[in-house]
Every structure is written in C-alpha cells, then in structure tokens.
Assembly symmetry: D2
Homo-oligomer: 404 residues x 4
Amino acid sequence: MSQERIGLWLIGAWGGVSTTVAVGLAGLQAGVAPETALVTSLPKFSRLKMADWSQFVIGGHEIRETNYAAEAEVLYQNSRVFDRDLLNAVAPRLAEWDKNIRPGTLINVGSTIEKFAGPKTLATRGEKPAAAIKRIRTDIEEFKKANDCAHVIVLYLSSTEPPLESDASSWDWAKLSATLASGDSSPVPASTIYAIAAFELGCSFVNFTPSVGSNLPALAEFALKQKCLHVGRDGKTGETLMKAVLAPMFAARNLKVMSWVGHNIFGNMDGKVLDDPINKANKVRSKDHLLTEILGYKPQTLVSIEYIESMGDWKTAWDHIHFEGFLGTKMSLQFTWQGCDSLLAAPLALDLVRLTEREHRRGKSGVMNHLAAFFKSPMGPHEPEFAKQFIVLEKWADEVAAQQ
Amino acid sequence: MSQERIGLWLIGAWGGVSTTVAVGLAGLQAGVAPETALVTSLPKFSRLKMADWSQFVIGGHEIRETNYAAEAEVLYQNSRVFDRDLLNAVAPRLAEWDKNIRPGTLINVGSTIEKFAGPKTLATRGEKPAAAIKRIRTDIEEFKKANDCAHVIVLYLSSTEPPLESDASSWDWAKLSATLASGDSSPVPASTIYAIAAFELGCSFVNFTPSVGSNLPALAEFALKQKCLHVGRDGKTGETLMKAVLAPMFAARNLKVMSWVGHNIFGNMDGKVLDDPINKANKVRSKDHLLTEILGYKPQTLVSIEYIESMGDWKTAWDHIHFEGFLGTKMSLQFTWQGCDSLLAAPLALDLVRLTEREHRRGKSGVMNHLAAFFKSPMGPHEPEFAKQFIVLEKWADEVAAQQ
Amino acid sequence: MSQERIGLWLIGAWGGVSTTVAVGLAGLQAGVAPETALVTSLPKFSRLKMADWSQFVIGGHEIRETNYAAEAEVLYQNSRVFDRDLLNAVAPRLAEWDKNIRPGTLINVGSTIEKFAGPKTLATRGEKPAAAIKRIRTDIEEFKKANDCAHVIVLYLSSTEPPLESDASSWDWAKLSATLASGDSSPVPASTIYAIAAFELGCSFVNFTPSVGSNLPALAEFALKQKCLHVGRDGKTGETLMKAVLAPMFAARNLKVMSWVGHNIFGNMDGKVLDDPINKANKVRSKDHLLTEILGYKPQTLVSIEYIESMGDWKTAWDHIHFEGFLGTKMSLQFTWQGCDSLLAAPLALDLVRLTEREHRRGKSGVMNHLAAFFKSPMGPHEPEFAKQFIVLEKWADEVAAQQ
Amino acid sequence: MSQERIGLWLIGAWGGVSTTVAVGLAGLQAGVAPETALVTSLPKFSRLKMADWSQFVIGGHEIRETNYAAEAEVLYQNSRVFDRDLLNAVAPRLAEWDKNIRPGTLINVGSTIEKFAGPKTLATRGEKPAAAIKRIRTDIEEFKKANDCAHVIVLYLSSTEPPLESDASSWDWAKLSATLASGDSSPVPASTIYAIAAFELGCSFVNFTPSVGSNLPALAEFALKQKCLHVGRDGKTGETLMKAVLAPMFAARNLKVMSWVGHNIFGNMDGKVLDDPINKANKVRSKDHLLTEILGYKPQTLVSIEYIESMGDWKTAWDHIHFEGFLGTKMSLQFTWQGCDSLLAAPLALDLVRLTEREHRRGKSGVMNHLAAFFKSPMGPHEPEFAKQFIVLEKWADEVAAQQ
C-alpha cells in the first residue's frame, strides 16, 4: 500500500457528521479511537490493503462560520457523545483542518438552509453556476496542491436540499453544461454544482445525503468521460437500515405487512432543516420506497421526521409493523432505535472514502454499484435487501483480494 | 404432481400447535383459509409441484385425552384467534381426525409433562422401549393402511422434554438399539423413541421442538440405513428469528453488541411446561447459542421465558440490545414482538411437511440441511444467518425446479 | 331506587362507541356481560343507589343508514372484539333499539363527515337551525313518550366536528337564540344544535367528544334556565389519561419535562374523520393543553393522530417523554398503550349516563364539575391531575351517600 | 433560618448514590449545579425555611477503600453522567470530604458484600456488636465535633443486605440491647447496628435501602426514647414509582389488571450485589407488595432484576401490564423507563436529609410518616398511592408553613 496523501474534501464541512468524521479521523490518526463501527476494519475488508488513516487530510466547503472545536463542543454538551480526553487529544489537528475550510455556495439550497449562511458565503450570493464551479475547483485544487494529495475524494454531507422542479433529469451532459454556461442557475441544486466541480478535477464524489448530487444522467455521463468514481445517495444509518433488514424476513415468511409506521425524532441541525416540509419531502421519499421493492406490494406506510430539540443528536425511531399471519391473525412488531445520528453516519462516511480510494487505485470509474449496502437510495442497479447488498460487497472484496 | 394421499402423523396431536395445524389444514382443504404465512405458497416454492393440501390426512399420538374442537375453543376463547365461522366450517373434518389419535408414550418425558397424561396413556406407564416402539409403529402402520397413504411424515410437536443425562450422544446405532432391546429405558427420551419407530417404518421425521428427537449420531446412521429423511430442531418462529435477522446487521456494520437481553412471556401449555426450570433449560440453550455464532464473539446474554397466564397463546418478547458504536458511544435497539405462538408455528410446520414430502419424492434421505431457515438449532452444517439460510433454500428450489 | 325507565339518546347512534354502548348495555341487561371497566360498579359508587342497567332504553340520531348488528359485526371482524356468543345473545334487543334511530342533522358538520351521510339525512340538507331543533325535539319527545321514560339523557358520540370560526363563544343566550331563529346557520355546529334541543326538552346533555356541544356561555345560561344538567368534553380514554396520570409524577419529583411526543395510530371511522386536518385540529387541541396546566411550564410537545387502516379499533399510542434529572442528566420514559378505542370509551359513556341520572335525581342542574376525571377538556373549573379529579369524584360520592 | 452546620453521615459513603450525593451537594454549594430533581426546591417546600445547601458537611462509613474522585470518574466513564467541568469544580471539596470517611462494619452483610471490603474494614472482622456500635459512635462524634455540627443525619445508602432470619422483629429494646451486649452478633444486620449507634448519639436515621435499618419495634422504641427521627425504606426512584402512579389509574377505571411483569436491567455495583439471589430477595419483596395494596386484589406479578454490565448506572425497566377492559377485552400498556439510577436516587436522598433536618428543627421524633412518597416500603401507616402520598406531604408543608 502506497503512503501517498489522500484529500478528504467535505461539503458541509462543519456540520454534525463532518465534525464527527473529523474528530474520528483525527482520533484514529492519533491512535486514541477504537475501530468499532468501521466496516472497512472488519477482517474481510481490512485485508484489501486499504489506505491507512494517517494518509488522509481534511478540507472542505461550508456555508456557516464556525470551527471544529466549537461544533464538537455542541455535540459533547447536548448529546454527551465524545470524551473530553479525546477532544483534547485531537484539538490541534482539528485546528489545522479548520484552515482548509472555504465558503460554500447557496445556489438552490432553499431558504431554510440559506438562513444558516455566514457573511463570507452570503457574499457569494447571486454567483452564476460557472463562477461557482470555478471557485469550488480552485479551492479544491489549492488544497490538493498544498497538501500534496495523490487523489481527492469529495464527500457530500450538507443538509438535505429541497427537491428541485426541473427537467435536468432528462438532459444529457451537453445540454446541462450549456445551460449552466449560459448563466441559468435554475436546473440543478448546489449538490450537483459540487459534483460537477469534483468531476472537472478528476475527483471522486460520494453523496451521503438525499440531495441530488451526481444522480443525473448528465452527471453519470460526465463522470465516465472524466474517469471519475461516484456513489450515493443517503447513508443508511438507522431506521431504514432496520427496514432493509426486517422487511426481507416478513417476505421470506410470507407474512403480510399491512402497515409500517415509523416516527423519527431528533434535535440536531439536520432535524431543524428537515422541519421545513419542503426539505423533508426529499428525505421521506428516500425512506419510503424500500418496502415496496422488498415486499413486492405496497403496505400502508407512514414516515414522520420531527425536530425535538431536547434529543440533540440522538435519533429515536419508533416503528410499528402490523402484519397478518396464518388464518388472518393480526400480529405486531415494534422497535425503538436509539442511536446517535452523527456517530452512526461518520464511520460509514469514512468507510465510503476508504472504499472509494481503494476502487480508484484499481483504476475504476463510474457508479460503484457494490456499495449499495451503505445507502438508503442506492444509485445504479441494486438489491433492496441489506443482506444481499452485503453479499455483493463481500464478492467485490473477494475480487479485489484475488487481484492483490 | 401425483394425487396420492399423504399421512401427517402428529406427536402431541392435540397440543396448541397441532390443533392449529389441523384447523389450518382443514381450512385450506375447505378453501376457507388464506395461504398467508405459508412459505411454500410463495411463487418461488409453489412452482415446485408441491403436494396439494387436499392430499393430507391427520393422525397422531397424544398423552392427554381431549379433542380438536375443545382445544380450538380454548385458543379461541383465551387468545381470540381463529374465526367462529372457520371453526364451524372445519368441525366435521376435525372430528374425523380425532379418531386417528392414539395414546402417546411417557418414557423420559419428565414429571411436569407426565402430569398432563390421561388414563389411556397412564396405562402404558412402565412400558419398555421395545414395546413402546412396537406400539407406536403399529398405530402408524394401521393409520397408513386405513388411509391408503403413499407416505407418512411424523411431525414432532410435543412439549419440550427435560435434557437427558446419558451417553447416548456418543453411541452408534448398534449400541443404542441393543441397549433399548435389553429393556433399559434410560438412554433416550420419548422424542427419540418416536423417531426410531418412524424410521423403522420408512417414515420421514420432522422435529419442530428443542427435544432431542433424531438428533443423535445413532439416529442419523439409522435414518440413512432406512433411507429416511429427517430434520430439526425447534421451529424458529419469533424472538430467535429476529436474532437471526438482526445480529448479522450488527456484525456487518462492525457495531459491537455488548449485551442482548430477551424476555419472553406467554400463557399457553408450552409456557406451563417451560415454567419447570428443567424443561426450560433445553429451550433457553436452543435460543442462546446463535449470537455467538453470528457475531464471532460472545456478548452478555440473558434469555428469560416466563409463564404469564393472561397472555394465552400471545407470546410477547421484549429484547434490549445494547451496542457500542463509533468512538465508544453506547446505543440501543429494543423490540417488542407480539405474536400468537401457535399461529406462527403451525404454517411453518405445514411448510416443513410439504418440503419434506417434496424431497421424499425426489428419492432423497438423511438430514435436510437446506431447511435450516426453519429452525432455531438446525441439525447438520448450516449458516447461522437467516438471510443466508433462505438463500440456501432458494438454491434448493432452483435445483428442484431444474429437475422438473 | 325507583324502577322508572330512563332514555339514553345517542347522537352518532350507530358509530363505534355507540354500538359498543348498545352491545354492552344489552349484555348487562341480559346478565351476560361483566361489569369490568365500569367506574360506577366500583363499591364506592355502586352504593349510591345508581340506576339499574335494566332501566335504560336506547334511541338516537345518526347520519348514516345501517344497524347495530352490521356495525357490531365490523368491529368483531376487524378488531376481534366482542364474543360471537355475546353478539348472538343481544341481537334481538339491538334490533329493537335500531327502530329508535332517526336521521341526524348536517348543519356545520364539515365536508368530511357529510360524505358518510345516507339518503334520509341528506334529504334534510339545507334545513334551518330552528327546523332542525324542532325535528330533533320531536324525535326525542316521541321516543320518550313511546318508552314511558322518566328522564332522557342525550349522549353526544358523533365524529369530531371541524372547529367553527364564529363569535358565538362571546354571545349570551338571547343573542344566540335570536340569530338561530333568524335562519342564520353559521354560528354553531351540529353538536350545539342537539344540545339546544335537549335543553328545550329538559334533557341532560353529555358531550363525550371534542366538539363544542354545550360548551358555550349561551348554552350554560340556557341549561340553568331549563334546570338541565350537562358535562363534557372529550372522553379521557387512553393517551391523555396517561398524561394526566404521569405528568403529576414529573412535577412532584421536580423532574423537568423537556419534550413529550405522542403518536397515535388507529383505523376506525373516528380515525378516518380525524385524517382530515381540519377535524384533527379540534382533537389535537384537546389533547395538548394538559401538560402545561399540570407542569406549570410548556415543554416541547407533539401529538400526531394517524389513520392506519389495519389497526381497526385498536388505538396504539407511543409516547416518548424526555426529561432532565439531577445534574442535567437527560432520561426518558416511553410507553406504548394498546387499547381498543370503543371498548375503552363505551363503559365511561355508560358511567356518565348513570352518574348524570343520579345527579338529576338529586335535583341538580348546570355543569357537573365533579366529573372532570372523565374528560380530556373538562368544562367548568377543575383540577388537571387525574388523581385529584378522582378525589373530587369520591368526595361527591360521599356527599351523595350522606344524603341517602 | 439558622446558619448552623449540619452533618450528613453517609453509610456506604463511596457507593454510587453517595458519590452522586457528594458531587451534587458540592455542586450546589459551589453554585454550579441546577436544582432540577430536588423536591425541596419546589416552591411549596422551599418556602419552609429549609436548610441551605452550604450548611452541610459530609462524612461516613464505607467498607471499600477508594475516594470520591475515582468513583465519580467511574460513573462518568461508564455511564456518561456528570460533566467534566462540574467534576473539576467540585474536586477540592470532595477531597476534603474523603478525609471524613471511616471503615464500616461487616456484621451480617453477607458474603457477596463482604467481597468488596478493603483491608481496614477487614481488620474489624469478628468485632462484637457492642464494639462496632462504640466504634461507629466514636467516628460520628469526632466528626460532629470537628465540624461543629448542630445535628447529624445518618443516611443509609449501602448495598442491599440479605434478609436475616432472626426473631428480633418481635423483640423489645430491652431484649435486643441485652442480646447485643452479650456478644451475640446474630439478631440484626449491619444496617441496624448503624441505626443503634445513630440513636445513641441523638442523630436522625434515614434508610434509603431495602435493608432493615431501624424498621424493628425495638428500634422504634429506642428512637422515641432518644427523641430521634427516622424513616425508610428503599427510595422510590423508578419502576416502583411508576407502579405507585399507574396502578391507581387502573383501579379508578375499574380495569382489571391480570398481570404486571417488570424486568429491570442495570450494571452498577448495586446490580452486582443484587445478582446474588439472597440479596435480591429483599429487593424484589420491596417492589412487589404494592400492587395488591393499591388494586385490592393480587394480579400475577413478576419482577426481575438483572445485572447487565454494559448498562452501567443506566437502569432500564420494561414493564408489561396486561389488563381486561369492557366486555372481556384484553389490552396492554408497556413502558420502558431509562433512568440513571444514582442520579435519580441522589436528589431524593438530599431531599430526605433536608426534610428530616426541618422536622428535627420542629422538635419532632419518631417515624416520619409524611415522607411515604419517597419510599418503596414506607415505615408506619401510609397510603400506597403516590398521588395521595404527595398530598400528605403537601399537608405537612402547609402545617409547617403555618407555624413559621
């Protein structure tokens, strides 16, 4: 395994998940964080000559103005996660990385997200797509050069954007690039702007959110042209993971799911953004299609996501599954998932970065279909059942191992 | 598919699961019961030219003296399962089958089970193994002949026996058969006596309980010699099914399960028997080994099974899973499973009968490893994860389909 | 205790709660129903010379066209409540009572409720308030006479009306009666129309729903003038009962409730009506004010009520209470309430009828403040804590007992 | 209110609850801890001229050898309670109090508790009751003098002792004191030894555990003779508090509780001691009698308490209440209580100390019946329902206020 440096460029760089990514990565580099919850630390993946944690350096874009220490402190105080000793140990490294964070773009992020923007980002308001892409490119290029990175992976972790009403989903790259070049800001949201900038530079793009990102035919085309890797959407961290695990059980037993009700409450920034019904729509859609795919029919479903301030980063999901058994007998399964959102998401984000880097080292490009196990709404063809998604991932690992 | 008659010989023939098997089968034969919860009614299995429900006829052994109508009424009254209209529709058929039930054996069933025995069974007390086997054989043979059955499947559904302290698990068939022939009743429990009788007759033997049954090297040897099929143990209906489905998720995500606590409450006859700590030991053992197999390490576990009369047949399991996530953060998943025990078990028992009959028609013998998905403690080599067990079953289906 | 006949006039007479009231009352009259869940059957109340169940006869208004047997069958089939034997036993009595049901009024019931109306009720559309009141009066008078009733209690059990935007809440009786007489239908909803008709006849009026009913200054004035008893609103059957019981515990322990989230799912007709956000608003308001009254401050609250068809009459409420303990430690209490809505409401409705009849026999009139324990939003001055409400009821019982 | 110093003498002084009492008291004295969870900080009690937190000084007995900083660190690490800043702020004060802790006695504490004893306490092994009492007295007297205390309250917080088989519960003080003087160690456990020493000195004695303490006729007699206040047993912190709050609801609604199952899991030292079935017996008994007292009949009950190491100080109780409603319909209520044991207990312990000191200042002696709301098994005559216990406490407050 080469010891080249690898850039990890975070979009939404001071958000809860990004902050946890940074704290965790710094902790791993300092040898004070255990590898629990890192899929790539399982023996079947760690044998694949994964990049070492020490190789990564963090930079990114962010619309707010803050710093890692302050954001980590909020998580620590509100949610009693992290350890004071860990925070102290990683503070100098976080302060270094703070210097690599640049103002983000506000193009089509919606008014709820815009409210959080600081003065530096607000100053970019009205920027045309071409200018935004150029600015983003420059930021990443400077970072790559300054840190002597062999490769940079752009990891999209910003708050969920509102769904965009546009025809762009039926356009090819020629049409999209021409439209953007014309100064028309309407067709794509910020997440896609970042993806375009990433592909122009030959970077990989990982979309951990329900936002559109690179999930457009035009972008798929452009990624291949640029020989870039990409993958998404929406990290499968909690309730949806449970659905992808439990629904196959009902299907396999021929138990008829009549209704599946899921209520999610949490109090972090993501929750505040999702409290806006427009942003929430994107998220709920991402959580709801799964059951029909797995069961082969559509039970009555309900997914609510509510911002409850006192919960902090602790997402509690209560699901009530009502199913019909033999001879028409109605039975139920309820579960309560109490997980800390950022702490569930961050290790998966780090895993995706390592898996992407490994694939990049194999010279691959395009959508990484084998990573469906990580996403609520995987791009590309995929199995909906978690167990089968994981088997696909294991097969990929066997293939990589065979080439080593 | 031939339209020969197939005998379904139930051990514990008037128990809760058997009664539900009988009600359900009669309902399916009468076309008044839906096929929900029947795995073999899923398209991927029903295409295998499964036996038609109309081919089956029920007989069996039972230590209590009662009848299907009375037992079904108890379930109806205590647990509000079944439908009065269904019960009325199947009453004549149940009354016919009642006539095929014969007194069981009490050899090594333990004092808790013995208390339920009626006069006819009590009259057999002291019977030597050879006599018991002969009596059981005769009962089944007469039933087979009277009903003109092409094949008889013995389905073991009796209450959980106490674990037996004996060396029989290291004996070969020669030694076991000689010991039993000598009049020594000590080496094996009633479930094994029934299995021997079944194999002597060339019947298949399906053990849906944690009792030993045919799960001994001597019996495996004898089954092969007799070209018989067998499989077991302990139907995977509720909490353990959930474990086999959820534990792989924690493993795949490298989340460290620190403790897994499961409390089960229910109030049926099975619960009364399991309230005896000796009988319970067998059951708890069957529920507990799974996690270590799947996770690769042993978390602290606790499984309690308690008889709560008011619950009737409704088994409620509360599980609390405490796991460590990224950066040492402790999180939890709780679930409450509210299922009607007999209604969960009966369709699986019917599935096993159909799957066994299908395999018998292919001319196979020995342990049916491909049926591990149905059992808490599958006999023979097997995957511990439910999803992988089901893939094995699907592969078997593909193989059978290819031969058709 | 006199053995006079007492009329029980149900508004929404064939709805789920009314049907259960009718089945239960007929069962009690036939001696085939136990008195579980009847507060007035507790020794401390039964000593008060309560009316005997045999004295009651049922009539009522209803906008749908159906009958008790059909409605009871729906509850039986969908929700597995009642017993077939009980239904058979009470069928003749229910058929008699069916004959006493008359078409209701649609004045201001809202479009969601209107959709359920049958032809006879639809024929009254456009009826002016004065005509509606007269028609309702005539129906009740005829029933009273035909059945030789000493007293008639009007029990309002219809689906929740939408909140009405009108100034009527600040009017006196002179203004309200004059406005209605003028042919203006706008100021009050159907529930108030029924209350006016009841008071004109000297009947008692019990409002078991969140609808306005007699909860207006003008009606309070009119009730006193007519020497009528009345009480309401919204029977406290499940989740809100739990709040009235649990919130005082947090207050007494000085534990700070940060948030209280309640999700309710159920699938009966009431649920269908509440699925209309306009009707739901009335209900949620009735469920939400309580916590602030008891705690003395306003925690973040969320109450959702969702129609999930498969649940039938089984209302499942999941509440998550997040509270701060000593030294800022966040803790939680969750509960899951699984109750059958109509079966919880019906006995309380019957209790209210008996308690009202007893108070009527004492010659009282006006709002029955001592019945606050039965309501989510009690009319008149009252304690918000359930335990204190019950002490008030016990004191009333002592007072009545002392007079006997 | 006088500003005299008040001694708080803790038995089990370095245990989890005591450590939290010490951290909390020091935090309150330093003005860095909020008063949430302190009942005596509610306006209705704080008006009673309660002692100020600054007046208290801590000393105590303990069989282990450790210190507050180390014990607080364990709670902080295992259970993520406390705040690093709070711990830093109170460290000097805790170090002072550490100096006031003396070796405890092992008389009849049982072998499970004995295992935790350090060398200094082990050196007292074999000590006769009279010597132990004298040593304890001397320790408290020296503390009282050194700290110039106007009064000392002995607060018993040690691990639950095994039930003692002895006749002492029928003895008077003359017989008990003579027996102990004779050198016979058998009749009473350590908790009673401490109570005797406390009463000899005129101290108040508060027993927050299920151990016997002063709950013997002989001790009641001796307390009155010495004009001492005392109260107990077993702080009502979580699941039992819920029972005392919820059971009255079922009683008031005439809902028939068929079964009440409660499972408790936690992983602190108390849990380790209760994992010994002998010690657990005392605890379970304390948790179980309540329902019968409140309901007036005995439902089937089950209480389990299990040591699950990963839970640390977080006690999770799952209760399943199965009740019969109208027309025989079975319904259920489940709750999950997730509370941090020491953080729930410590404020109540501090409240009891303040309430005892206030009563002492009124010149009272004997059992404080008005404090039943704080205990699972209150000494003296008492209401079993929490709401009524709290009303008794409020009446006491009114009486005290009237005298001020």
